[in-house]
Subunit: 343 residues, 2 copies
DNA sequence: AATTAGCACTCCAAACGGCTGAGTGCTAAC
DNA sequence: GTTAGCACTCAGCCGTTTGGAGTGCTAATT
């Protein structure tokens, strides 16, 4: 807590963290001296380590094991010690190569990038697709699938496509559907999706609607169509995480998978990142997610023009190669920003 | 092999399989006598077990353990011994409740059913969405996203929506795109998607096209748009499988997850099921999938009108509650058939 | 001839105990 | 302030023991 973090303490803390990131095993006083060029006796190092433990940066699994870094240590590390590397040439090429859109479908772009993040980082990749809500309305279409079943297709300015199956109370003819779509397309042009929702509600209140059956059902249909429901969260490379020694035990693994199934919680966290542009790092409990102790999350935002569209990142153990992964996430976000910005 | 499967042998084999399905532990001769009302001495049972082992129905992990059923035993069990239960009332209600389409998107329907299959069966749920290819063409739309980026939206008769981002060589105006779409919609009406592809190629050969730039680019665009790429395979409930004792060990788990990432192989297998309507069961190595030893797959086909649209099912350990899961899969397939059949 | 009781045998799994070595904290010397 | 020295701790490994579950074989029984 106090300013007693002299240079030597820092050096030693850094050495412990970096060794631990490599080996995943508790680090002892002698390991430090041999690996990094620190010319102090093991006794002195032990003294420093005891101080660091008291300050909450280190913990020991049991008396005769070495020390392992705490979340607080990682936090200090990324804030003060970390020298971020630049992305390696080969990785940069892979990222560039796999960040393409031609011939893919919209979801496919995000899924592929999530996949790529996982294989380049060797952890899990995560991409939150743009919130449909934050987008501008472009077009709505209705297609009659059956006597009382309609497919609504919604397209946003940025090209996200959503569809909804709607089962109205009574049958609506194809002609009528076309008219409805025309009416709505005119009405909603240029609004954001959240404005669209408000507008639909306003319009439904209005007097003239009450006397026009067609308009009323059009609005009702569209109201259902704009009901948000799909998550748009792509998590890939879960099998990667098996390679990490901390998950050799099946219990931990199970917890982690349960956590990944709670997509809503994750999504809420990522939504929070939208307001903080650039790279964000959540270490261990900082994410306030259940079953995510021992895991860290590195995110960055991607942008199109002036709009922050979404968030992507990497999930791995707190013992993560921050120096390598941070620039990967950063670079990928920039690439995605670039391919989403046309003209 | 030979017909030496008298009633007693069958009874004992059945007892072993059913006990093993419950406990996941090798079954000894005494366990059989106590559990099922078989009034024979353990010695006699041991003799029968030795015969069954010789015939390839049982295996013993080591001399002083009990016996476990082989794949062949499970196969015999489902073919000859199994008394399929009916679906429990509460389960039937859950299936019914979660098989709805109103308000969902098309993928959402299949994803939800996959999820439901996993939570009702306690294994993994799997749903292959209808192959776009096997569908009838309904409509194509082009939307200009940017100077050299177009969003193509394809809709099939059954309501599947696909989209593709296409980056053509040169810019195409919005007006032009509308014309192209009109031309293609007229040209391709009433064809299946696979016929569509052939038709596009034929048309591109034709003389008149060579002199009409617009038509030529329209065809080129649509050719790209109909390039199949999305898998449409929904696997849910992977965390469920952790509860199974055979996956307590992380190594097995890892293999299984690698297998699940090979979606193409799975998809090929499911495609094969399209030709065999109704319930299909693959036990252990019968699926011929890598890393799927020890796993079984129960599938059924779902239908709309006369067309077999797709396949759904449950993946679990070979030691699976077949008597319970088979009717669940069957019932779910029928429910999905029902909700896909409108009018 | 089929069934069963009896028995010797096998082998895994859990428990036990001793040993080792890595690592620590403390104290006294430098 | 730093370091050498030392006693102490404790997880992990290894070899041994023990117990029990289960088998296969043989001889007695029905």
């Amino acid at each position: 807590m106090d300013g007693d973090m002299n240079i030597r303490s820092r050096q030693i803390l850094e050495a412990i963290i970096e060794d631990y990131i490599c080996t995943a095993e508790p680090i002892g006083s002698s390991a430090i001296r041999s690996s990094h060029g620190i010319s102090l006796s093991t006794a002195t190092i032990r003294n420093v380590m005891a101080d660091l433990e008291e300050m909450g940066f280190l913990a020991s699994p049991h008396t005769s094991a070495g020390r392992i870094p705490t979340d607080k240590a990682y936090r200090f590390y990324v804030d003060s010690l970390l020298a971020v590397k630049s992305v390696e040439r080969s990785e940069r090429e892979e990222i560039r190569r796999r960040c393409t859109v031609d011939g893919r479908d919209v979801d496919g772009v995000f899924r592929e990038i999530s996949h790529m993040l996982s294989s380049v980082s060797h952890y899990m990749g995560i991409v939150a697709a743009p919130r449909f809500n934050a987008n501008f309305f472009r077009q709505i279409d209705f297609i009659r699938l059956g006597s009382r079943r309609i497919l609504a297709i919604l397209i946003s300015q940025s090209g996200s496509v959503q569809n909804r199956i709607i089962e109205p109370q009574e049958d609506i003819s194809t002609d009528m559907l076309v008219k409805m779509a025309n009416y709505l397309n005119a009405l909603l042009q240029g609004l954001t999706i959240s404005e669209v929702k408000r507008r639909i509600l306003e319009e439904m209140q209005s007097e003239k609607i009450r006397y026009d059956n067609m308009l009323a059902s059009a609005l009702k249909l569209s109201e259902q169509a704009f009901d948000e429901n799909s998550s748009g969260l792509f998590i890939e490379g879960q099998a990667n995480i098996f390679a990490q020694p901390e998950f050799a035990d099946a219990q931990r693994m199970k917890e982690l998978f349960r956590a990944m199934e709670q997509k809503n919680q994750l999504l809420a966290l990522l939504d929070g990142c939208l307001k903080a542009p650039g790279v964000n790092i959540f270490i261990g409990s900082e994410s306030h997610l259940n079953n995510m102790s021992g895991m860290s999350l590195i995110t960055s935002t991607y942008i199109s023009g002036k709009n922050t569209l979404g968030v992507l990142g990497v999930i791995g153990p707190t013992r993560m190669g921050y120096a390598k992964v941070i620039p990967i996430v950063d670079y990928t976000a920039k690439m995605l920003t670039r391919i989403l910005t046309v003209e």
